[in-house]
Subunit: 349 residues, 2 copies
Amino acid sequence: MDAAPRIAIDAMGGDSGPAAMIAGIARALRRDSALRFLVFGDERVIAPELSKHSAIGDAVEIHHTPEAIAATEKPSQAIRRARTTSMGMAIAAVKDGLADAAVSGGNTGALMAMSKLALRTMPGIDRPALAALLPTMGDTDVVMLDLGANTECDAQNLVQFAVMGAAYARCGLKIDKPRVRLLNIGTEELKGTDELKEAAALLREADYLPLSFDGFTEGDQLSRGNIDVVVTDGFSGNIALKTAEGTARFVTDLLRRAFKSSLRSKAGFALSRPALNLLKVHLDPNNHNGAVFLGLNGLVVKSHGGASPKGVANAIRVADRMVRNDITRKIGEDLDDFRAHAFNHEAAE
Amino acid sequence: MDAAPRIAIDAMGGDSGPAAMIAGIARALRRDSALRFLVFGDERVIAPELSKHSAIGDAVEIHHTPEAIAATEKPSQAIRRARTTSMGMAIAAVKDGLADAAVSGGNTGALMAMSKLALRTMPGIDRPALAALLPTMGDTDVVMLDLGANTECDAQNLVQFAVMGAAYARCGLKIDKPRVRLLNIGTEELKGTDELKEAAALLREADYLPLSFDGFTEGDQLSRGNIDVVVTDGFSGNIALKTAEGTARFVTDLLRRAFKSSLRSKAGFALSRPALNLLKVHLDPNNHNGAVFLGLNGLVVKSHGGASPKGVANAIRVADRMVRNDITRKIGEDLDDFRAHAFNHEAAE
């Protein structure tokens, strides 16, 4: 696509109101001034925030939406308010072709349910999945999905996640043939659930797909940098993601405590500070903010509720990149290939 | 119990043969010279190792066992060799009352299968679980189970794991009424699988048990120090444990890279070194080596295949502590209580 992406923003979704969302827009515009935004939310609080950022100019259009989805609201309640809430209207803008993607920092369950209902799953996809980038020791991040959209998954779901995750790696990480692995509790073929074994068998056969299926991997390999896409059910994926976040925080907390433990180590910290700041940047969750709902007829990006303006700008960048790379079309093509081959295979048997 | 524990050692199970196991025994004896060991394995390689450690004296009895279970051997094959292998004979020593616990660094699947077959599960336990201690920011470690013995678990399994994990925390961490939580992908009552919701309901009712059930927890809370026992199915537990190990290694690798990045940060590292060594000790997996199979009529401790002598000594200490605290009897008493209450409850309805 040639025109710059138009991004719909749910300004009311984050933990601290629209301030971080609007500051994030301003930050995104400083990097790419061609972007255009449709901002949904309460005009009375949004307008003063907008006036704080000269970079915004006329790149933003406010769509006054008096209601907002609460952080604790059940998905089943939220979907009834699709036409009156900032979250619902941001998604509707994608559905109606007014925007190319929506970004929200609100309630994940509600965002998922409303997106699914409004945008519907793509042909060939049974369930959409939540995908994000995680930092590694290697040159690029790793794509991981599902991160919590689907508590239980069958083999077909996992294969579809692999296809979508590989498309994400091609669009987002510029890797032609991503190395894909299934998360398991061992790497031998006999390990794990029946769903995993069946998904592995299907992926091993699907050698025409633009991905390299490398078998199983374990939790300790996620950040090694030798995998491009890690596929898992939403329960295990959420456990792994949050355990990784918690452990990174644990180690950096211990490190902080160690540096404070003596005058000598305080001096050591002062000397090492520039180098340690690089570590901090590498681990800052704001630099990896923006999880994508893949598998819908339209793009929706979940920003962390507590994301900083930098984090919001990063979620916008994820949306921007996916739109410009036309990820929805790429997933569709790969799925068509997969289904055509599976059909021929069945017919030949 | 009054007499010092007798520990059966599978000397052939570790990645590097008996050297680390024997050095670990010597280390354990330096801490507690009353311990006694029955060492199973190839006499020709064990005897020279024993002679390297003067601390060992007559605390060790060699039981020549010519065969060993290979690291890649399937559990179904291993169980046929129970009477001819060092792993099988170490477990048999527990069964026959010759030893109070067995320690092995061998193949986890084989160790589990052989232990289950020889020792059988306790009355009231459907499936044994693998439990270990993980480091936290708090004053004590956290007990986590199951770590991979059971890929899928129902609500009853999870409740039994909670009872066993709480007994472990009472014996191993000296906490009278351990705070127990179920690992989930959210803390609201409606989150997660049906098995988790049902287990939570059962634990909420079982307020006569010597534990405090605090509901669900998420992966990012494991190392915060505000939980004593984390209960989960073996699939999620294994994913969480390995992700935590991998992330800790990731952050420390980044840290090492940061310190090496300039002359200035190298100097900072030299100054901070004593403090950073404390961090290293806190995170060294050898200090947390020794996972216990709970729920069998006898104690079996799994040492990491690559454990150092310090790690082996730690696994022996875990076995020692569990034997001295009579954990098997404690679990049995709690299970009797649970069943008596459940029975009265049913009868009253």
